[in-house]
């Protein structure tokens, strides 16, 4: 993927530390994400990739460090201010995390109905839901229940539910894991399309080389709680460190 021109930083993580008991997950991670940039994060299981995402949206409180999102220190925010900023960060969960007691339509309406914002009529809600579903190519599934959907469809609808709140930053937690190569390619293309349509910046956790090739402007490798290396996909493929290199073999 082409490199974006130098843009403003939308997300900055510095010196982030998080431990669970004696187990140090993040030990001083630093990261910068710029406008319209897609960064893919690589790392072995248990190196803290998902913990990093959860710290960014404060589902987990870090032990130390700073996280700046769209110019605001998210760690210093409380209640309404935190909620407002969280809405600007869309989190696409690994399995979609759809509310299984609700239909696809209700899943998409839920964040619009239950967060503070402009009061919307049912016609406006319908329009927004249909637009989001069209963007992920699943308008026909509007009245289905999550149990009737495949893994790939759930991921797409999870993305649609995130997009309906028009976020500035998207965090994708393994968006193509567990999918067949064709669906995986479709999801990767969708990530790119979303970036173009919604002008978003994205952090993507992935081990799928095809997904990385399609989506990444930059690649960062997480090792022992710190970002070990970073660069474009080509730079990383020819990196001198065998650890970094091993991800592309």
């Amino acid at each position: 993927m082409d490199q974006p021109s130098i843009n403003n930083i939308v997300l900055e993580v510095s010196g982030l530390k998080k431990s669970f008991g004696d187990f140090h997950i993040l030990s001083g991670a630093n990261l910068e994400l710029r406008e319209k940039e897609n960064i893919v994060i690589l790392g072995h299981s248990g190196t803290g990739k998902s913990v990093l995402f959860k710290c960014i949206v404060r589902l987990i409180e870090p032990d130390a460090g700073d996280i700046n999102v769209l110019g605001e220190n998210i760690l210093a925010l409380k209640d309404e201010k935190l909620t407002e900023l969280r809405i600007k960060i869309g989190y696409v969960f690994q399995g979609g995390a759809l509310y299984d007691s609700m239909s696809v339509r209700d899943n998409l309406e839920f964040p619009l109905k239950h967060t503070k914002g402009p009061g919307r009529s049912q016609a406006e809600l319908n329009e927004l839901v249909e637009e989001a579903l069209s963007n992920v190519g699943l308008i026909k599934s509007i009245d289905k229940m999550p149990s009737e959907l495949s893994g790939g469809m759930m991921k797409r609808i999870g993305l649609a539910r995130t997009l309906i709140q028009k976020p500035n930053i998207l965090l994708y937690d393994e968006p193509t894991t567990g999918l067949d190569p064709v669906t995986s390619g479709e999801i990767s293309e969708l990530i790119l399309k979303v970036q173009e349509d919604y002008n978003t910046s994205s952090l993507i956790i992935s081990h799928d080389i095809k997904c990385i090739e399609i989506t990444a402007n930059q690649v960062r490798v997480l090792k022992e709680g710190k970002f070990e290396a970073g660069g474009t996909l080509d730079e990383m493929k020819h990196h001198e460190d065998p650890f970094v290199n091993s991800f592309f073999k």
Partner: protein, 258 residues
């Protein structure tokens, strides 16, 4: 030494658990006072709780009254006190047996359901998704369920009591040829508001404990499918124990007040 360490750990775990549940209660109240409650979701939960338990409670209540009358009748007859049967059965059902039996049924059916549902939402990251999309899961998911059980349990107990008294009448009518009018007159002659109000208050607390424990166990479930089963199971066990403890306290308090 190992035994002493084991006891120390158990006490420590118990105290941490008490602290955690205390903090959970304060979070629920804080969110309730700050954000109020989603009436639509509360109504949905009340409907689900009633819908889930009504058939079972109807049958259990009916059989309870029937059996209690069949078992007490011969003993009272020995003393020539058959006429006291409707009053004795209805009073024991309304004051004690009805509330405890219905609460145990609701703990098994609803408490375990809340535990399993929330644990499943935790495991599949639905609670996390709700939180990052700007909806407070404590307000939307937990408070509505806890308040829902607290409201519904007293109503379900009154409903089951009515079925028990009906069962008792059918049994008494068959065995002692007593008319409906005479049965009801004798049954309600001994029941006063002083019997009903403590029962309603007590069952409200039973409901609160069932909802709270189910929600707590589910909300903090460990990851994985094992955590779902464990949450449902421990919700039933702890709710059942708490029902007996609350009942014991309620009896003592009502004795002191009266």
């Amino acid at each position: 030494m190992a035994g002493r360490t084991g006891i120390k750990d158990t006490i420590s775990d118990f105290l941490i658990g008490v602290g955690d549940i205390g903090s959970f209660i304060s979070t629920i109240f804080y969110n309730f006072l700050k954000h109020g409650i989603n009436i639509q979701e509360l109504s949905k939960q009340c409907y689900r709780i009633g819908n889930k338990t009504l058939p079972l409670i109807s049958i259990t209540g009916f059989i309870l009254g029937l059996v209690l009358t069949l078992q007490s009748g011969p003993t009272l007859a020995k003393f020539g006190a058959e006429s006291m049967l409707p009053g004795m059965v209805s009073l024991s059902i309304i004051r004690e047996i009805g509330p405890v039996i219905v609460a145990l049924i609701v703990a098994g059916k609803v408490g375990s359901g809340i535990g399993a549902e929330l644990a499943s939402m935790r495991v599949t990251e639905q609670l996390d998704a709700m939180e990052v999309s700007g909806t407070n899961p404590i307000s939307f998911v937990v408070t509505t369920r806890v308040i829902g059980v607290s409201i519904m349990l007293p109503l379900l107990v009154l409903y089951a009591d009515a079925f028990s008294i009906l069962g008792s009448y059918i049994s008494a009518s068959a065995a002692y040829n007593i008319s409906l009018e005479a049965f009801m007159h004798k049954a309600f002659d001994v029941i006063h508001y002083a019997d009903l109000i403590p029962t309603i208050i007590k069952t409200f607390f039973f409901g609160f404990a069932i909802g709270l424990i189910g929600a707590y166990k589910g909300y903090y479930a460990k990851r994985g499918t094992e955590g779902v089963g464990e949450a449902a199971n421990s919700a039933v066990v702890l709710s059942s124990i708490s029902i007996f403890i609350i009942d014991l306290i309620a009896v003592q308090v009502s004795h002191i007040i009266s």
